[in-house]
Amino acid sequence: MKEYFNNIYLALSTIFIGMSVTFKHLFVPAVTIQYPSVKPQLPTRERNRLYVNMDDCIGCLQCARACPVNCIEIETVKKIPDEDLGLTSNGKKKALWVTKFDIDIAKCCYCELCVFPCPTDCIYMTDVYEFSEFERGNLIYDFVTLTGEERKEKNENYEKFMVEKAAQKEAELKAKANENKDNSQDKK
């Protein structure tokens, strides 16, 4: 009998305790953030989408080598002697045309390992984290500032230059060989 009334008392009193708790929470300001219109403050060292500042890139491939998932693909072409590519922001001379700098951001694991080896600090993490796409192909980012034709042109220029150089060398060799012949004939 005592237990019976105790149960009733317990049920009612706990209901009132619970209701007072929920009533207090009615006036606690909400902890929700209205996400797309209000964005949360990110931590200072957050790692998000990569960006490459191609003006500073010297094509050294260090980032591609550091990447643990091989998501960076770089192709470079040597400049020909009469081209001047200018200096990077920290005073290094650029010697290579970067004709391909693709980052497959779908593969990227946001480890930031590519950022540290960069000698010119041209690859870095931005604070952009909303970049979903409908096509997976759209997630391969091409950072090269040259147009497709320019890239082809650079390649051709270099090849032409190499061919010319090779021809020049051959000519030089021939000339030397001829000279040698002449000399030996002279000695005889």
Binding site: I15, G18, M19, T22, F23, H25, P29, A30, T32
Partner: protein
């Protein structure tokens, strides 16, 4: 009275009764359901330190309208193995059952759908149709979750009808009438004439009645809460166990009808509690219309007070819903048969003795 007014206006009693029967549906239940659904979501959200719907309109005010538009566009799915006739009738029955209860509820002194002498009896009887509709929905869906939910629901509703009726009989003994309009008129005057404060009973009996009336109020509030399947008694729906109980298989407007019926029911039971214990449409502090001599203002004030009290109890139901966890089936039955029924019965005896004084 509204009925006489429409009878004069249209010249036909049938037309007048149809119009006055449709009035509460379009003027009250539908807007109430729209507001209550939004209110429930906002109240629950703020109780859990969230914001709730915020996108549609100012602070999500138009959210329910958007939801209704979505529900109207949805495909009406009827599965192959459903019992099609019963499946289609069930939501109508559930809605009709809960809507019919509004016929006898006096919203103001000048509007009552049907001023019958057995009003309270009619409401309790007609809400039995809801039980049939729910069992029908659960059976016709041909799904083990819906059937389980429907069976639990029927067991619960039938069990909790007993303490409800006990309390109704208690009130009947004090007031001597089942006519809801008369019941409200008995409680006229100021708030100390409400049944929760002993009613308009003369002498010492009034003071003696107060504690037992409070107990009676507690019993009927808990049991009506169980009858409309609200948390903590929502085992028929029990999302975590039964998907969503008897309306798992329903989609589109049929689902919306169950939803509408649930919210209409919430207000109906709140209205019954208000009429029985809190003076129905009576103002607690007198009428402005009386004091400044504008008698047409009185019904509007009465409608305001009735809605105010009713929505207050609906809010209390929501508050309880977001406070208490769900009971197990055995706990639910223990609450009913071991606690509420004995308490209501002893209460009935004591109130009966007091009324003899």
């Amino acid at each position: 009275m509204i009925f006489d007014f429409f009878a004069k206006l249209t010249g036909s009693e049938i037309l007048a009764s149809i119009i006055s029967a449709l009035l509460p549906l379009f003027l009250f239940i539908l807007p109430f359901a729209l507001i209550a659904v939004l209110l429930e979501r906002k109240v629950s959200a703020h109780m859990q330190d969230r914001l709730g719907p915020m996108r549609v309109g100012y602070h999500g005010l138009l959210q329910t309208i958007a939801d209704i538009l979505k529900l109207i566009q949805k495909e009406d799915i009827v599965a192959d193995s459903n019992d099609k006739t019963l499946f289609n009738i069930a939501p109508l029955l559930v809605f009709a059952g809960s809507y019919a209860a509004f016929a006898a509820i006096p919203f103001t002194s000048s509007y009552i759908g049907s001023n019958i002498n057995l009003g309270l009896f009619f409401i309790i009887g007609i809400s039995g149709i809801v039980v049939i509709g729910i069992l029908m929905a659960g059976w016709a869906s041909n799904n083990k979750y819906t059937l389980l939910g429907a069976m639990r629901c029927v067991a619960q509703m039938i069990s909790f009808e007993i303490p409800t009726l006990m309390v109704v009989v208690t009130i009947l003994m004090v007031t001597g009438t089942l006519n809801l309009n008369e019941l409200t008129e008995i409680q006229s005057g100021f708030f100390w004439n409400w049944m929760i404060f002993g009613g308009a009973v003369p002498g010492i009996a009034k003071i003696l009645l107060i504690p037992f009336m409070i107990i009676a109020f507690g019993v009927i509030y808990i049991s009506t809460l169980a009858e409309v399947n609200r948390t903590p008694f929502d085992i028929p729906e029990a999302e975590s166990e039964l998907v969503s109980g008897y309306h798992t298989e329903y989609s589109g407007m049929k689902f919306a009808m169950f939803y509408l019926a649930e919210y209409a029911n919430m207000f109906a039971v709140s209205a019954i509690v208000v009429i029985l214990f809190f003076g129905g449409y009576q103002s607690p502090v007198g009428y402005l219309g009386n004091s400044i001599g504008l008698h047409w203002l009185i019904p509007i004030e009465q409608l305001f007070w009735f809605t105010f009290k009713g929505v207050g109890f609906v809010l209390l139901q929501m508050w309880l819903r977001w406070t208490l966890p769900r009971l197990r089936v055995d706990q639910l039955m223990a609450v009913c048969w071991k606690y509420l029924i004995p308490i209501a019965f002893v209460n009935l005896l004591i109130v009966g003795l007091i009324t003899l004084i």
